[in-house]
Amino acid sequence: MRGTLFQKVWDAHTVRKLPNGQTQLFIGLHLIHEVTSPQAFDMLRARGLPVRCPQRTVATVDHIVPTRDQRRPFSDLMAEDMLAALERNCRESGVPLFDLQSGAQGIVHVIGPELGLTQPGMTIACGDSHTSTHGAFGAVAFGIGTSQVRDVLASQSLAMDPLKVRRISVSGALAPGVYAKDVILEIIRRLGVNGGVGYAYEYAGDAISRMSMDERMTICNMSIEGGARAGYVNPDDVTIDYLRGRRFAPSGEAFDRAAAWWRSMASDPGAAYDDDVRIDAALIRPRVTWGINPEQSVFVDERLPAPGDVPVESRASVAEALDFMGFGAGQPIKGTRIDVAFVGSCTNARLSDLREAARVVRGQHVARHVRALVVPGSQAIRAAAEREGLDRVFTEAGFEWRGAGCSMCLAMNQDRLEGRQICASSSNRNFKGRQGSPAGRTLLMSPAMVAAAAVAGEIVDVRDFSHAD
């Protein structure tokens, strides 16, 4: 049978058809964190139900952790309460927890892959919308809410409707200074923030095949910003090489058997898709968001649209965004003064992201009016970066070098914007108030573009900035 990876994984994990017509789907890996799980554990307790498969559940702490002083108890008492609740829930139910002492703590979507927990052909659920990140490995991975976290804890399964599959083929070579982040921002601009509702996105084409796992994770991570609950890349040699030797990946002959099964789950040539989209990689330039949703972006050398430039149904959104951002229609994005630069988040805080940002700032200094911080995605990435001396590159350039966590992507710890500050950010959402100040403004871009903006003090084109090599 010729099928897509989505269909194969769906079929292999189907438990049964439920009376209402939905599918009961087995969940191979359930990732949990401190924000969306405590209420789920309480619901289980109230019903006298145990965690059914603690060995298929993995916890870490990421959203609320302070990134500066991580000594316990945290000075932030609410954060302390939330971590204490996670520790108690994990202890009582036998769920492994990668905490701050483990050396393996980090953003849940960074550590799953890094530890080899995330593998092709799996179903993965987590109470966080960026669970789509894990699709980079050829897993079917999606975000769920707390009641569904309860259901997975109780039954290791979910009631789901199947998704349609849209193949997005990205062909050709990316120009220097153009990154995976620019590709996904372009895809979201083309298809819209709700274009993916009802779909899983399959990212294909030679530009995707040439990407590292880090880059594929950046692409899959922001599937949800395009409305697609899941996004994936078919497993190939790059995937298998990444997994070899990882802590929770199989080893020895078992690895070879696993690799054969992983490959067998890839979409077959000739599989049928519900939709097909083609993107020419060579036409993509660095992108920057200017508005209040991730579809509102322009190439760095473009000007902001006027409400009259867009289809009638988008006019109100464009007018609202220009008003909130305090930007004028037709103004260039280049030259926009920034106050804060943030390199971090599950989208772009892996080692290769930090290397690209460091390459831009090496020997330079952050502009005097800019506060800049680098928040690695995990403790392991932080340690690896320090072994390469990246921490010194950043601190000598005037960046703050922090502990691992979600930090200023959503500002659930002390890292947040103030007032109407503008932040050049490598994260994934530019929603109103997202970075912790109700009036704060976020411009999304690649980590290299953030680094260049930090040094220049304003939005610049990273292609003019460096890349002599």
Binding site: N20, R56, M78, M82, Q148, D151, V193, M412, F431
Partner: protein, 201 residues
């Protein structure tokens, strides 16, 4: 869990206009710093409300004339963004028992089903007409009928649908799915045992 069938919801409406209203706006992340959902209703749309008040254009959520509304009427791609169930929880705890809109993000929709708050989809022109009708008469009685998949108000009515499985779950009271998922756990185990990564390669 006692079975609660949800077949129709009667009440008054609150028109909340705008496309792509994300869950960060519904409930900003700083209010997620708690191990319970209690009190979330006090912060529903907090930043939007404050900004609207500052401009002198009262936000409908803070407008007294909608104080007892129980049906939220929204536009396109409502609830996009973060998977936080805190968003539909805040809406439910504020007293809303159904949401009617042009379209919903999938995760928001799924979360709402799982907590027993139906989200129905209707044509944009019908939604706008309904919002206008509520503007004109905030006390207008509205009936959301899941069985007939209709919304009735005043002298007119409109089609408002929801996916068959979700509709079925509300009508037969199985929207809280935990018991059903545990009903034949041996089948979950059988499916798992056929997966090489569970079986141990």
């Amino acid at each position: 869990m006692p079975i609660e069938r949800i077949t129709r919801i009667e009440g008054t409406g609150l028109p909340l206009r705008g496309n792509n209203i994300d869950t960060d706006r519904i409930i900003p992340a700083r209010f997620l710093r708690s191990v319970t959902f209690e009190g979330l209703e006090n912060h529903l749309f907090e930043d939007d409300v404050a900004q609207a008040t500052e401009r002198g254009t009262p936000h409908p959520i803070a407008d007294d004339k909608y104080r007892t509304a129980s049906i939220l009427v929204v536009n396109g791609n409502f609830g996009c963004g973060s998977s936080r169930e805190h968003a539909p929880q805040a809406i439910r705890r504020k007293g809303f028992r159904a949401v009617v809109g042009e379209s919903f993000s999938e995760i928001f929709f799924g979360n709402s089903v799982a907590m027993g708050m139906p989200c129905l989809t209707a044509a944009p022109a019908d939604i706008q007409r309904l919002q206008g009708a509520i503007d004109a008469e905030p006390s207008l009685p509205i009936v959301v009928d899941l069985e007939a998949q209709r919304v009735r108000c005043g002298g007119w009515e409109m089609a408002a649908s929801l996916p068959a499985a979700a509709r079925e779950s509300f009508l037969d009271g199985s929207w809280d799915g935990t018991a059903l998922l545990l009903d034949r756990f041996e089948e979950v185990e059988r499916t798992a045992s056929r997966l090489p990564y569970v079986a141990g390669w």
